[in-house]
Amino acid sequence: MRAMRAMSALPVLLAAVLRVGVTLHPYYSWTSNVGGTAVVVVPIVPPSADPHSFQPRPEDVAVLSSLDAVVENGLGHDAFLEPMLRAAGKERLPLLLPNENVPLLPGASGGANSHSFLSITASSQQIQNLAKELGHLDPPHAELYTENARVYVRRLRGLLADALRRLEGKDLSRVHIATVHDGYGYLFSELGLRVEAVVQARHGVEPSARQLADTIERIKAAHVNLLFTELGLDRSYVETIEKESGCRLRRLTHIAGGPYTPERFEKDMKANLDAIVDGVGAAAGGS
């Protein structure tokens, strides 16, 4: 059904500038970089809200009325969008689906892992998809979108190349990784790193004391020596794990919440890659 709606994204009679809504922070950065001056990008989730727990207000629904299209994750990460479209009477609004034909990892709770934006390679494919979708909607600017996507993907690829170069020669057999979120699987996979345990499969749900104790036991049993937590996660929770399990701790960002900027995705992904390279270096070197 969503695919049919995406396919119905036929060229529309447009004003000079296309207004495209986005549900997630990475999509804001991607669409801004690909669209350039031909697209105005409109966040649907306010900067202060978390998409995992977003409850739309009437003013959020009203934003949809001015849009020509909306970029949708479509894998469950932005399930709030469909009810919003119905409430706004915009069921026929063209959907741009960057995840179309992207190879996806399985999710912790069944279905596909919806965090495909937490990867340079998967994001590159999505950015190319987005450029094509925008070109279908707005043919006069199709070449511009394609070229902008190419330049942007090249820049992102540079981040990945730099991280891979810095991982060269590290003894990965000494590195045993766990994360607090299964969404980072895409990122570790493209770096050739294996995640041995995910200690909190569901975002934003923190364990009970008993679950925490089990988690620490699992980390010890898997000989995990490097744990990646998330920025914004309850410090007492992760510090307890660090103290009790003795593993090193590094923090990653989910790229959710906070200001929407064109640079945000690159900046946060660089921070993620730096945290991984630094953590792996320490765990491999035994320092």
Binding site: L104, P106, T146, R150, A161, L164, E190
Partner: protein
Amino acid sequence: MTVARGLRPAPASLPAMEAVERRVLPPSASREAAGVAVAVAAVVLLGAVRIATLPRAGSAPPRTAASAVLTAEDQVVYQALLVGVDAVTSMRKKSGVWPSAQALAADDVPPFAAGLLPAAARGLAWSVAANGTTADYSGVDPAGKRTAFLLRVKERERGASAEVWFRKGGSTSSAGAYPVREGWFELVALDGDTGPRP
């Protein structure tokens, strides 16, 4: 006697019934034959439709989902190929010729540029065989152990289409014109999904 409202009491005596005569004609041989013919035609038509919509073993290539059959490092190669199609078609458009694997590597396009892959995913030797509007980019392990890949890019009137094929267990030679006959499988992104889009 209580009489229900709205009903008339039955008359004391009923009139004698009259016999009804009805002529029953013998079945028409021609009408029966026509009915049988219509039924047979319907069965034949439905059968033909069913056969026409069955998957054909000889023409449809076996397609399989990447996440189900590839190792983690092979999935990295597969995804890099999907992203690389854009660079291939862009260089083709600019120069008029299909870019060589070396040219793509020099332009930092993975998986042709091994430095942009994790160490475990490296080691395939890439080459191109171009034939007019089609180019086959093959990545094979010279030792014949690693999974071999084929990226087939076809130039279309508008844009290009691409297929990714693989052969597990390795191959020291590139796939021919009909990879399915040589034991190669086409990859799709996810079960039930279509292959890479133009």
